[in-house]
Symmetry: C2
Subunit: 171 residues, 2 copies
Amino acid sequence: MPNLIKQKNAASKLMEFGIVRHTVDNMYHRNPDQGERRFQFQGQGKILIALSQEDGISQKELATKLDLSAQSTAEFVNKLVSKGFVTKEKSTIDRRMTIIKLTEAGRESATKESQKIPEFLNVLTDEELDQFTNILTKINSSMYNEINENNSNLFKKTQKTIKEHFRDWFM
Amino acid sequence: MPNLIKQKNAASKLMEFGIVRHTVDNMYHRNPDQGERRFQFQGQGKILIALSQEDGISQKELATKLDLSAQSTAEFVNKLVSKGFVTKEKSTIDRRMTIIKLTEAGRESATKESQKIPEFLNVLTDEELDQFTNILTKINSSMYNEINENNSNLFKKTQKTIKEHFRDWFM
DNA sequence: GGATTTTATTCAGGTTACCTGACTATCTTT
DNA sequence: AAAGATAGTCAGGTAACCTGAATAAAATCC
């Protein structure tokens, strides 16, 4: 049973981290001229990321992969189409399906967004980076367990997405 | 200059952490019967937290404190009123102002939400908890710098909120 | 092989967290 | 008292989601 005080310390720092990070995100969000917005794994960004892993899949597959409703997926895809980041075309094999493909601009945006290293990691020493990585690995697997206990289907999807997402991360 | 590989490792774990945590949050969000939703420092929750630190302040003060527009603040307050978590009353000193107060239910909800320790911290040893706390402290101050460079006013507000928020954390 | 069911997508409408603009009521300053 | 500044409201908008109902195409059933 770990020390409760230490747990509370860590918990408060972690919550602070969440709040401050959120603040920083909003800051960039509100000043899009200065820096770019940070990557967030949601909405249109989610679609872009999924497509950069596996391009030319159907809307349904996207929805399943990302655990989104078909309707939300359609919405995000349509927004990306008007931004010129993806294209939609009817499948010739099964004309119910719509195949979504990244455009050049979309691909660029996806890779640029997802492979960014947050600046704040610059303040950590090599030793701290290792510690941080180890700790996060433990925390992440604990959360995976939590997901798995609750909804093993969601667990599988999440793991798959993460695995695919980080497959290209190094190289 | 820290090792780039180590940075990438840490960055990917951190991004994974964000994604998985988001997944867990949504999981609880979609099954509100099972567990409670996790704390998030936004919207109505933000108001509740601020009030639990300083009850009976005006809507304007809330907005300033939380760096929200007056209109958003009004919206959240009204939603909380209909949930019976806060009350609104016209100030007698300055009848332009509306004083917002927590009800018993509101206070309960606020403290319950904010003082929760995430389960995943249970998997860390005492040593890891210390390491994690140190690392997060460094990261947080780095982000404060980033905020300060961009918008020193926002920086002050954020620091103040955080300070007040965590003042009661260890009671 | 025509009727039924399933599947992929769309449309309409709803929620929460935000925002900006325009307007009212009240207080302060000149 | 007139002009200005403040606190708050109303209307309307965006992004990320969701559910329900409708449509079109494919698959399955008898």
